[in-house]
Amino acid sequence: MDIPLQAILSQAMLGLNNGAFYALLSLGLAVIFGMLNVVNFAHGAFYMLGAFVALLGYDYLGQWLGNADMRLSFWAALLVAPIVVGLLGVIVEKTMLQRLYKVDHLYGLLLTFGLALIFEGVFTNYFNVAGEPYNAKPEVLEGAVNLGFMFFPKYRLFSIVLSLTVCFGVWYLIERTRLGSYLRAGTENPDVTRAFGIDVPKLRTFTYFLGVALAGLAGVVAAPIYSVSPKMGSDLIIIVFAVVVIGGMGSIMGAILTGLALGLLEGLVKVFYPPLANTVIFIVMALVLLWRPAGLFGKEA
């Protein structure tokens, strides 16, 4: 094979970038699944909504309020979009999901699938499927930075660092803080946790807020790289499902590491055998299932 090292490294970095998104999204899915036993099919839609909150805040908010100069900056969007998306998630959890915990877990999947279709359909109606560019990338992050072996776009580097920081922040929150110990206890045995006077329903709502807000954040971070389109989440979510199956939903760290590793793998496959780039993650999933049905980091059920 005669492929320059440069190309391999640059694809590896791009892959790592995608992997950071996979990690962020599969982390949210794993957190929600662990606590609520719901496979959140709407996760991709919430990711899309996060990107749209940023886009709308930057391009349209001023017009709507009659002051064209008013724009939601990228930095503000990083904070506002996850909260807006998270609050939408709270509404969903309080009005619908909450009623489904007692029935078969498949209904949670079906409900969120329906919600994903609704969100996607509404936005497809108003926005171009081909996507709109998000031009709010801050000037500080323009240009490229010299990594020694290659020049890498500053923004991409920023998005990797930010995603990983958030991932490890969430890991710390869940594994090392008091709130996290409540969450883990609620996952393990909701009845006993309740008996200790901890408000488990509130904890569940918070968990859904957290997981969905992570998806919203991923959407904002992705917005300057990919164009913002109503369908941006729907294909991504299937890849993230595969990531989650490969990693196993047992551990938070597992979700993060699997996401990163698979993004990297996808990037490398793009260099060596491009036609397989779209499917390599699914093939890995099939192989892992044959070898270790519970996933790489999962516990045997």
């Binding site: 699944f33 036993n37 496979v39 619908m96 009623r99 489904l100 029935v103 877990h105 498949l106 209904y107 999947l109 079906l110 409900l111 699938f113 329906g114 919600l115 994903a116 279709l117 609704i118 969100f119 996607e120 359909g121 509404v122 497809t124 109606n125 299937i238 890849i239 499902f241 595969a242 989650v244 199956v245 036609p275 779209n278 499917t279 699914f282 093939i283 999933m285 099939a286 299932l289 044959l290 049905p293 059920a301």
Partner: protein, 333 residues
């Protein structure tokens, strides 16, 4: 064999079905379907019949085996493409083309089934979805599928080399493709009958037992994995049969046949009609089909409506239309 029946209610149901095997509902529905093309636009009716078979095949797995596959479009679509290719490029007769497509769906069913049944419940849904996406990308990149354009202009051909399926009969103002209609009717009705037989067979009872309590069925000595795989392959095969027949009806196989939206759609048909009932998927398929037909002009609001129906079904209506009626009448339909 008493030990087959783990659940007293399913025992009662199964016995009831055995004792009351009556033929008039079959004959009556055949009679109704025979006059349908004179009233309804025949191509639409045939499409609905194919989707009804697809939903029934899916329901065999979900309603009776308790396994939610979120990737059934891959069997439907693969069979659609391969049947189209066999008829259009290789010049096979329609029945051989359909047989070929269906057989390929069965093989795909074995391959995916072996992997997917290693996980249960929600994981099963995710695994089937991901594997179906793999098939989707394969169809997108394969040279013979025509990529975004799909496989177009597939001829109807001659059944057994004798009967021209594109032949139409003059009826008042309209041209009715009666040959094709009865061909499709025979296939879908045959498929439905096969599902009905399976559900009411000892195999079907074991399947229900596994759905109700897998550990118990296992401890009774049933090789649960084999039953699940058999149900999966059968469901995949019949889904393929539906897809293959649909290709012949509309003369087109496209990416939307393999897309996960199609998988979602068949879940909705079954959920709306009533999972675990024999008639439910048919009612669901017709309802969803008519919904699509009526809302076609609304563009992406169709997606919103479909999503809304999903939410309403899950929140208020988990038994589905037929399931709800059956519950009110306190009997199985």
């Amino acid at each position: 064999m008493q030990s087959n029946d783990l659940n007293p209610t399913s025992l009662k149901m199964a016995r009831g079905a055995e004792q009351k095997t009556r033929y008039w509902p079959w004959l009556a529905s055949l009679a109704v379907l025979a006059v349908v093309p004179f009233g309804v636009y025949p191509t639409f009716a045939m499409e609905l019949m194919c989707f009804a078979l697809f939903a029934c095949a899916f329901n065999l797995l979900l309603g009776f085996g308790g396994l939610l596959s979120f990737g059934h479009a891959c069997f439907f679509g693969t069979a659609a493409y391969l049947t189209g290719h066999a008829i259009k490029v290789w010049g096979l007769t329609p029945e051989l083309g359909i047989l070929f497509g269906t057989a390929c769906a069965a093989v795909l069913g074995v391959l995916i089934g072996v992997i997917a049944i290693r996980r249960q419940g929600i994981y099963f849904a995710m695994v089937t979805l991901a594997l179906a996406q793999l098939v989707f990308f394969a169809c997108l990149q394969a040279p013979f599928t025509g990529g975004e354009d799909g496989l177009q202009g597939i001829p109807k051909g001659r059944f057994l080399g004798l009967i021209d399926l594109s032949h139409t009969v003059q009826f008042g103002e309209r041209e009715l493709p009666l040959a094709l209609y009865f061909f499709v009717l025979a296939i879908t009705f045959g498929g439905y009958w096969l599902i009905w037989r399976t559900v009411n067979s000892p195999f079907g009872k074991v399947l229900k037992a596994i759905r109700e309590n897998e550990a118990r069925a296992l401890s009774l000595g049933y090789r649960v994995d084999r039953y699940k795989l058999a149900a999966f392959v059968m469901s995949a095969t019949l889904a393929g049969l539906a897809g293959a027949t649909k290709t012949l009806v509309v003369g087109l196989a496209s990416l939307s046949d393999v897309h996960w939206h199609m998988s979602g759609e068949v879940v909705l048909m079954t959920l709306l009609g009533g999972m675990g009932t024999l008639l439910g998927p048919v009612v669901g398929a017709v309802t969803v089909g008519v919904l699509h037909h009526e809302l076609a002009s609304l563009g992406s609001w169709v997606t919103v409506t479909i999503g809304g129906v999903f939410v309403v079904c899950v929140m208020l209506f988990r038994r589905g239309i037929v399931g709800e009626i059956a519950h009110r009448l306190r009997r199985t339909i």
